[in-house]
Protein backbone atom coordinates (compact mmCIF):
# COMPACT_ATOMS: atom_id res chain seq x y z
CA UNK A 1 0.00 0.00 0.00
CA UNK A 2 1.47 3.35 -0.99
CA UNK A 3 -1.58 5.60 -0.93
CA UNK A 4 0.27 8.24 1.11
CA UNK A 5 2.80 8.98 -1.61
CA UNK A 6 0.09 8.91 -4.31
CA UNK A 7 -1.98 11.39 -2.25
CA UNK A 8 1.08 13.60 -1.82
CA UNK A 9 1.63 13.65 -5.59
CA UNK A 10 -2.03 14.47 -6.27
CA UNK A 11 -2.12 17.32 -3.75
CA UNK A 12 1.14 18.82 -4.98
CA UNK A 13 -0.15 18.79 -8.58
CA UNK A 14 -3.40 20.43 -7.45
CA UNK A 15 -1.42 22.98 -5.44
CA UNK A 16 0.74 23.88 -8.46
CA UNK A 17 -2.34 24.25 -10.63
CA UNK A 18 -4.24 26.41 -8.13
CA UNK A 19 -1.20 28.66 -7.66
CA UNK A 20 -0.68 29.11 -11.41
CA UNK A 21 -4.27 29.19 -12.70
CA UNK A 22 -6.56 29.63 -9.71
CA UNK A 23 -9.18 27.19 -8.43
CA UNK A 24 -10.64 25.01 -11.21
CA UNK A 25 -14.34 24.35 -11.75
CA UNK A 26 -13.96 20.67 -10.91
CA UNK A 27 -11.26 18.17 -10.03
CA UNK A 28 -11.73 14.50 -10.83
CA UNK A 29 -9.25 12.00 -9.42
CA UNK A 30 -9.57 8.98 -11.70
CA UNK A 31 -8.62 5.68 -10.04
CA UNK A 32 -7.65 2.88 -12.40
CA UNK A 33 -9.04 -0.47 -11.39
CA UNK A 34 -5.71 -2.15 -12.16
CA UNK A 35 -3.76 -0.22 -9.50
CA UNK A 36 -6.57 -0.82 -7.03
CA UNK A 37 -5.79 1.94 -4.54
CA UNK A 38 -7.72 2.06 -1.28
CA UNK A 39 -10.09 4.97 -1.86
CA UNK A 40 -10.77 5.55 1.84
CA UNK A 41 -7.09 5.59 2.79
CA UNK A 42 -6.22 7.76 -0.21
CA UNK A 43 -8.99 10.20 0.76
CA UNK A 44 -7.70 10.45 4.33
CA UNK A 45 -4.17 11.21 3.18
CA UNK A 46 -5.47 13.74 0.65
CA UNK A 47 -7.45 15.50 3.35
CA UNK A 48 -4.36 15.71 5.51
CA UNK A 49 -2.10 17.03 2.72
CA UNK A 50 -4.74 19.49 1.44
CA UNK A 51 -4.98 20.95 4.94
CA UNK A 52 -1.21 21.16 5.21
CA UNK A 53 -1.08 23.05 1.91
CA UNK A 54 -3.84 25.44 2.97
CA UNK A 55 -6.17 23.96 0.36
CA UNK A 56 -8.91 22.77 2.68
CA UNK A 57 -11.59 24.34 0.49
CA UNK A 58 -10.52 22.44 -2.63
CA UNK A 59 -13.18 19.95 -3.63
CA UNK A 60 -12.66 16.84 -5.71
CA UNK A 61 -14.38 13.60 -6.61
CA UNK A 62 -13.02 10.09 -7.04
CA UNK A 63 -14.06 8.20 -10.18
CA UNK A 64 -13.23 4.57 -10.83
CA UNK A 65 -12.21 3.44 -14.31
CA UNK A 66 -12.55 -0.21 -15.33
CA UNK A 67 -9.40 -1.93 -16.52
CA UNK A 68 -9.63 -3.24 -20.09
CA UNK A 69 -7.02 -5.14 -22.10
CA UNK A 70 -6.63 -5.98 -25.79
CA UNK A 71 -4.44 -8.78 -27.11
CA UNK A 72 -2.05 -7.71 -29.87
CA UNK A 73 -1.96 -11.25 -31.24
CA UNK A 74 -5.62 -12.24 -31.49
CA UNK A 75 -7.47 -9.00 -30.77
CA UNK A 76 -9.41 -10.41 -27.83
CA UNK A 77 -10.52 -7.84 -25.26
CA UNK A 78 -11.05 -8.64 -21.60
CA UNK A 79 -11.45 -7.15 -18.14
CA UNK A 80 -10.01 -7.97 -14.71
CA UNK A 81 -13.20 -9.81 -13.78
CA UNK A 82 -12.21 -12.64 -16.11
CA UNK A 83 -8.85 -13.23 -14.49
CA UNK A 84 -9.38 -14.32 -10.90
CA UNK A 85 -6.16 -12.83 -9.58
CA UNK A 86 -4.96 -13.85 -6.11
CA UNK A 87 -4.57 -11.29 -3.32
CA UNK A 88 -0.80 -11.55 -3.65
CA UNK A 89 -0.98 -10.83 -7.40
CA UNK A 90 -3.33 -7.89 -6.78
CA UNK A 91 -0.86 -6.48 -4.23
CA UNK A 92 2.03 -6.84 -6.68
CA UNK A 93 0.06 -5.05 -9.41
CA UNK A 94 -0.98 -2.39 -6.90
CA UNK A 95 2.68 -1.41 -6.50
CA UNK A 96 3.64 -1.80 -10.16
CA UNK A 97 0.72 -2.09 -12.60
CA UNK A 98 3.06 -3.23 -15.42
CA UNK A 99 3.76 -6.35 -13.32
CA UNK A 100 0.55 -7.62 -14.91
CA UNK A 101 2.63 -8.56 -17.96
CA UNK A 102 4.60 -11.00 -15.81
CA UNK A 103 1.43 -12.49 -14.32
CA UNK A 104 -1.32 -12.49 -16.95
CA UNK A 105 -1.55 -13.92 -20.46
CA UNK A 106 -4.33 -13.33 -22.97
CA UNK A 107 -7.20 -15.55 -21.73
CA UNK A 108 -7.93 -16.61 -25.31
CA UNK A 109 -4.58 -17.25 -27.04
CA UNK A 110 -2.02 -17.11 -24.21
CA UNK A 111 -0.03 -14.20 -25.63
CA UNK A 112 1.79 -11.85 -23.27
CA UNK A 113 1.73 -9.10 -25.88
CA UNK A 114 -1.30 -6.98 -25.11
CA UNK A 115 -2.26 -3.42 -24.30
CA UNK A 116 -3.82 -1.94 -21.22
CA UNK A 117 -6.60 0.09 -22.83
CA UNK A 118 -7.93 1.78 -19.72
CA UNK A 119 -7.92 1.75 -15.94
CA UNK A 120 -4.16 1.54 -15.40
CA UNK A 121 -3.38 3.98 -12.59
CA UNK A 122 -4.24 7.29 -11.01
CA UNK A 123 -4.63 10.55 -12.92
CA UNK A 124 -6.02 13.98 -12.12
CA UNK A 125 -8.48 15.61 -14.50
CA UNK A 126 -8.79 19.36 -14.06
CA UNK A 127 -11.86 21.03 -15.51
CA UNK A 128 -11.35 24.77 -15.84
CA UNK A 129 -13.97 27.42 -15.15
CA UNK A 130 -15.46 28.99 -18.24
CA UNK A 131 -13.97 32.40 -18.89
Amino acid sequence: MHESVIALGIVREIDKHVKSSGPPARIRVVLGELQNVDEVVLGEYMKMYLEEQGLREVDYVFEWEKARFRCSACGYEWSLDELGLTDSERETIHFLPEAIYAIVKCPKCGSRVYDVLSGRGVRIVIEEKER
Binding site: H2, I6, G9, P97, Y101, V113, V116, G121
Partner: protein, 250 residues
Protein backbone atom coordinates in the same frame (compact mmCIF):
# COMPACT_ATOMS: atom_id res chain seq x y z
CA UNK B 1 -6.18 19.11 -18.35
CA UNK B 2 -4.79 15.75 -17.22
CA UNK B 3 -2.05 15.61 -14.57
CA UNK B 4 0.06 12.65 -13.46
CA UNK B 5 0.64 12.57 -9.69
CA UNK B 6 3.65 10.26 -10.03
CA UNK B 7 5.96 13.07 -11.15
CA UNK B 8 5.52 14.88 -7.83
CA UNK B 9 5.67 11.56 -5.95
CA UNK B 10 9.02 10.77 -7.61
CA UNK B 11 10.33 14.24 -6.72
CA UNK B 12 9.39 13.59 -3.12
CA UNK B 13 11.15 10.22 -3.09
CA UNK B 14 14.34 11.72 -4.52
CA UNK B 15 14.29 14.87 -2.37
CA UNK B 16 17.28 13.96 -0.20
CA UNK B 17 19.29 12.22 -2.92
CA UNK B 18 22.39 14.25 -3.73
CA UNK B 19 23.17 12.81 -7.14
CA UNK B 20 21.67 10.50 -9.74
CA UNK B 21 23.78 8.63 -12.29
CA UNK B 22 21.93 6.98 -15.20
CA UNK B 23 24.31 4.27 -16.46
CA UNK B 24 23.89 3.92 -20.22
CA UNK B 25 25.52 2.19 -23.18
CA UNK B 26 25.09 2.63 -26.89
CA UNK B 27 25.34 -1.11 -27.46
CA UNK B 28 24.75 -4.19 -25.33
CA UNK B 29 27.50 -6.45 -24.05
CA UNK B 30 29.84 -3.74 -22.81
CA UNK B 31 29.54 -4.81 -19.16
CA UNK B 32 27.18 -2.03 -18.09
CA UNK B 33 25.40 -3.94 -15.32
CA UNK B 34 28.63 -5.31 -13.84
CA UNK B 35 30.04 -1.82 -13.97
CA UNK B 36 26.96 -0.43 -12.22
CA UNK B 37 27.53 -2.89 -9.38
CA UNK B 38 31.26 -2.06 -9.20
CA UNK B 39 30.48 1.67 -9.16
CA UNK B 40 27.99 1.15 -6.33
CA UNK B 41 30.69 -0.63 -4.32
CA UNK B 42 33.31 2.04 -5.06
CA UNK B 43 30.94 4.88 -4.13
CA UNK B 44 29.95 2.99 -0.97
CA UNK B 45 33.63 2.74 -0.03
CA UNK B 46 33.72 6.53 -0.21
CA UNK B 47 31.24 6.49 2.67
CA UNK B 48 28.17 7.23 0.54
CA UNK B 49 24.88 5.41 0.98
CA UNK B 50 24.00 4.07 -2.43
CA UNK B 51 20.71 3.24 -4.12
CA UNK B 52 20.59 1.25 -7.35
CA UNK B 53 17.57 1.12 -9.65
CA UNK B 54 17.31 -1.54 -12.35
CA UNK B 55 15.22 -0.19 -15.23
CA UNK B 56 16.06 -2.97 -17.67
CA UNK B 57 12.52 -4.36 -17.49
CA UNK B 58 12.86 -7.10 -20.07
CA UNK B 59 16.27 -8.29 -18.88
CA UNK B 60 16.89 -7.25 -15.28
CA UNK B 61 20.14 -8.73 -14.01
CA UNK B 62 21.36 -6.68 -11.07
CA UNK B 63 19.59 -8.95 -8.57
CA UNK B 64 21.80 -11.82 -9.75
CA UNK B 65 24.95 -9.78 -9.32
CA UNK B 66 23.92 -8.68 -5.83
CA UNK B 67 22.96 -12.24 -4.89
CA UNK B 68 19.28 -11.47 -4.45
CA UNK B 69 17.88 -14.13 -6.77
CA UNK B 70 17.58 -16.85 -4.17
CA UNK B 71 16.20 -14.63 -1.43
CA UNK B 72 12.56 -14.03 -0.73
CA UNK B 73 12.27 -10.27 -0.42
CA UNK B 74 9.81 -8.93 2.10
CA UNK B 75 8.71 -5.53 0.89
CA UNK B 76 9.01 -2.94 3.64
CA UNK B 77 6.26 -0.38 3.17
CA UNK B 78 6.83 3.23 4.13
CA UNK B 79 5.60 5.97 1.80
CA UNK B 80 5.91 3.47 -1.03
CA UNK B 81 8.43 0.71 -0.47
CA UNK B 82 11.92 0.76 0.97
CA UNK B 83 14.23 -1.22 -1.34
CA UNK B 84 16.10 -4.06 0.35
CA UNK B 85 19.71 -3.81 1.45
CA UNK B 86 21.81 -6.00 -0.85
CA UNK B 87 25.15 -5.07 0.74
CA UNK B 88 26.17 -2.85 3.61
CA UNK B 89 24.87 0.60 2.66
CA UNK B 90 23.60 -0.42 -0.79
CA UNK B 91 19.88 -0.75 -1.61
CA UNK B 92 18.47 -2.26 -4.81
CA UNK B 93 15.12 -1.38 -6.37
CA UNK B 94 14.21 -3.71 -9.19
CA UNK B 95 11.03 -4.82 -10.95
CA UNK B 96 11.92 -8.41 -10.05
CA UNK B 97 11.09 -7.64 -6.43
CA UNK B 98 7.48 -7.41 -7.61
CA UNK B 99 7.57 -10.14 -10.23
CA UNK B 100 9.45 -12.76 -8.20
CA UNK B 101 12.20 -12.86 -10.79
CA UNK B 102 9.96 -12.69 -13.85
CA UNK B 103 10.61 -10.27 -16.68
CA UNK B 104 8.26 -7.50 -17.77
CA UNK B 105 7.71 -7.65 -21.51
CA UNK B 106 6.49 -4.06 -21.40
CA UNK B 107 6.55 -2.02 -24.58
CA UNK B 108 6.85 1.67 -25.49
CA UNK B 109 4.73 3.72 -23.13
CA UNK B 110 4.47 0.77 -20.73
CA UNK B 111 8.25 0.89 -20.15
CA UNK B 112 8.17 4.59 -19.38
CA UNK B 113 5.14 4.07 -17.15
CA UNK B 114 6.86 1.29 -15.24
CA UNK B 115 10.04 3.32 -14.69
CA UNK B 116 8.06 6.36 -13.53
CA UNK B 117 6.06 4.09 -11.22
CA UNK B 118 9.27 2.63 -9.76
CA UNK B 119 10.61 6.16 -9.19
CA UNK B 120 7.31 7.16 -7.55
CA UNK B 121 7.08 4.18 -5.19
CA UNK B 122 10.75 3.71 -4.23
CA UNK B 123 11.47 5.38 -0.92
CA UNK B 124 15.17 6.25 -1.11
CA UNK B 125 15.44 7.04 2.57
CA UNK B 126 19.02 6.93 3.87
CA UNK B 127 20.41 7.12 0.33
CA UNK B 128 22.91 9.75 -0.87
CA UNK B 129 23.34 8.75 -4.51
CA UNK B 130 21.34 6.64 -6.97
CA UNK B 131 22.72 4.65 -9.90
CA UNK B 132 20.14 3.80 -12.58
CA UNK B 133 20.99 0.83 -14.76
CA UNK B 134 19.25 1.36 -18.11
CA UNK B 135 18.55 -1.10 -20.93
CA UNK B 136 21.27 -1.20 -23.63
CA UNK B 137 21.02 1.24 -26.50
CA UNK B 138 20.20 4.90 -26.86
CA UNK B 139 16.56 4.66 -27.84
CA UNK B 140 13.38 6.44 -26.97
CA UNK B 141 13.25 4.62 -23.63
CA UNK B 142 16.64 5.85 -22.45
CA UNK B 143 16.15 9.37 -23.79
CA UNK B 144 12.78 9.62 -22.07
CA UNK B 145 14.44 8.53 -18.84
CA UNK B 146 16.95 11.39 -19.14
CA UNK B 147 14.11 13.83 -19.75
CA UNK B 148 12.13 12.38 -16.87
CA UNK B 149 15.08 12.65 -14.49
CA UNK B 150 15.55 16.31 -15.30
CA UNK B 151 11.94 16.83 -14.19
CA UNK B 152 12.01 14.87 -10.95
CA UNK B 153 15.50 15.43 -9.54
CA UNK B 154 16.99 18.79 -8.76
CA UNK B 155 20.43 17.66 -7.58
CA UNK B 156 23.34 16.44 -9.65
CA UNK B 157 22.29 14.29 -12.60
CA UNK B 158 25.21 12.88 -14.53
CA UNK B 159 24.88 10.12 -17.12
CA UNK B 160 27.62 7.49 -17.10
CA UNK B 161 28.21 6.23 -20.65
CA UNK B 162 29.84 2.80 -20.74
CA UNK B 163 31.72 1.60 -23.80
CA UNK B 164 34.51 -0.75 -24.79
CA UNK B 165 37.78 0.60 -26.24
CA UNK B 166 37.14 -0.74 -29.73
CA UNK B 167 37.03 1.84 -32.49
CA UNK B 168 33.51 0.91 -33.56
CA UNK B 169 32.22 1.23 -29.99
CA UNK B 170 33.89 4.60 -29.47
CA UNK B 171 32.54 5.81 -32.81
CA UNK B 172 29.05 4.74 -31.73
CA UNK B 173 29.38 6.77 -28.53
CA UNK B 174 30.57 9.77 -30.52
CA UNK B 175 27.59 9.52 -32.88
CA UNK B 176 25.11 9.18 -30.00
CA UNK B 177 26.35 12.20 -28.10
CA UNK B 178 24.14 14.56 -30.09
CA UNK B 179 21.04 12.65 -29.00
CA UNK B 180 22.14 12.49 -25.38
CA UNK B 181 23.12 16.16 -25.34
CA UNK B 182 19.74 17.15 -26.72
CA UNK B 183 18.11 15.93 -23.51
CA UNK B 184 20.96 16.31 -21.04
CA UNK B 185 23.06 19.43 -21.40
CA UNK B 186 24.97 18.80 -18.18
CA UNK B 187 28.19 16.94 -17.52
CA UNK B 188 28.68 13.29 -18.35
CA UNK B 189 31.13 10.55 -17.41
CA UNK B 190 32.65 8.10 -19.89
CA UNK B 191 33.76 4.66 -18.74
CA UNK B 192 35.91 2.65 -21.11
CA UNK B 193 35.43 -0.91 -19.94
CA UNK B 194 37.66 -3.88 -20.82
CA UNK B 195 40.43 -1.41 -21.54
CA UNK B 196 43.72 -2.66 -22.97
CA UNK B 197 46.70 -0.68 -24.13
CA UNK B 198 46.05 2.77 -25.53
CA UNK B 199 42.92 4.33 -26.92
CA UNK B 200 42.49 7.06 -29.45
CA UNK B 201 39.87 9.33 -28.04
CA UNK B 202 38.72 12.43 -29.84
CA UNK B 203 35.88 13.35 -27.52
CA UNK B 204 37.53 14.04 -24.16
CA UNK B 205 35.98 17.51 -24.10
CA UNK B 206 32.49 16.03 -24.07
CA UNK B 207 32.99 14.41 -20.67
CA UNK B 208 33.71 15.65 -17.18
CA UNK B 209 36.01 12.70 -16.74
CA UNK B 210 36.95 9.41 -18.33
CA UNK B 211 37.48 6.23 -16.32
CA UNK B 212 39.33 3.26 -17.77
CA UNK B 213 38.56 -0.17 -16.34
CA UNK B 214 41.18 -2.72 -17.36
CA UNK B 215 40.43 -5.96 -19.14
CA UNK B 216 40.19 -8.60 -16.44
CA UNK B 217 40.30 -12.12 -17.79
CA UNK B 218 39.07 -13.51 -14.45
CA UNK B 219 36.15 -11.12 -13.99
CA UNK B 220 33.47 -13.59 -15.15
CA UNK B 221 34.48 -16.14 -12.53
CA UNK B 222 34.50 -13.39 -9.89
CA UNK B 223 30.83 -12.59 -10.50
CA UNK B 224 29.67 -15.37 -8.17
CA UNK B 225 29.60 -13.03 -5.17
CA UNK B 226 30.25 -9.42 -4.24
CA UNK B 227 33.14 -10.53 -2.04
CA UNK B 228 34.80 -12.12 -5.08
CA UNK B 229 34.05 -9.07 -7.23
CA UNK B 230 35.70 -6.82 -4.63
CA UNK B 231 38.89 -8.87 -5.10
CA UNK B 232 39.00 -8.41 -8.87
CA UNK B 233 41.63 -6.45 -10.76
CA UNK B 234 38.91 -4.54 -12.61
CA UNK B 235 37.24 -3.41 -9.38
CA UNK B 236 40.53 -2.44 -7.72
CA UNK B 237 41.40 -0.16 -10.62
CA UNK B 238 37.92 1.35 -10.89
CA UNK B 239 37.92 1.98 -7.14
CA UNK B 240 41.32 3.68 -7.37
CA UNK B 241 40.10 6.02 -10.12
CA UNK B 242 36.77 6.80 -8.42
CA UNK B 243 38.51 7.56 -5.12
CA UNK B 244 41.28 9.67 -6.67
CA UNK B 245 38.81 11.59 -8.84
CA UNK B 246 35.88 12.17 -6.50
CA UNK B 247 34.98 15.43 -8.24
CA UNK B 248 34.11 13.34 -11.26
CA UNK B 249 30.93 12.39 -9.42
CA UNK B 250 30.19 15.67 -7.59
Amino acid sequence: MILDPRVESAKHQLRSVRAVYPVMSVKGGVGKSTLTVMLSLALRELGLRVGVLDTDLSNPSLHYLYGLEHRKVDVEEDEGYVPPLVHDGIRLSSPVIFTEGGILPARDKDSVNAVLELLAITNWRDVDVVLIDTPPGIHDEQLRLLKLMSGVHTGISRPVIVTTPFKVSLANVSRSLDYINSLHKGEKILVINKHRGRDELSMQASFKCILRVPWDERLDERLVSLEELLQSKAYAELRRQVHSGKDCFF
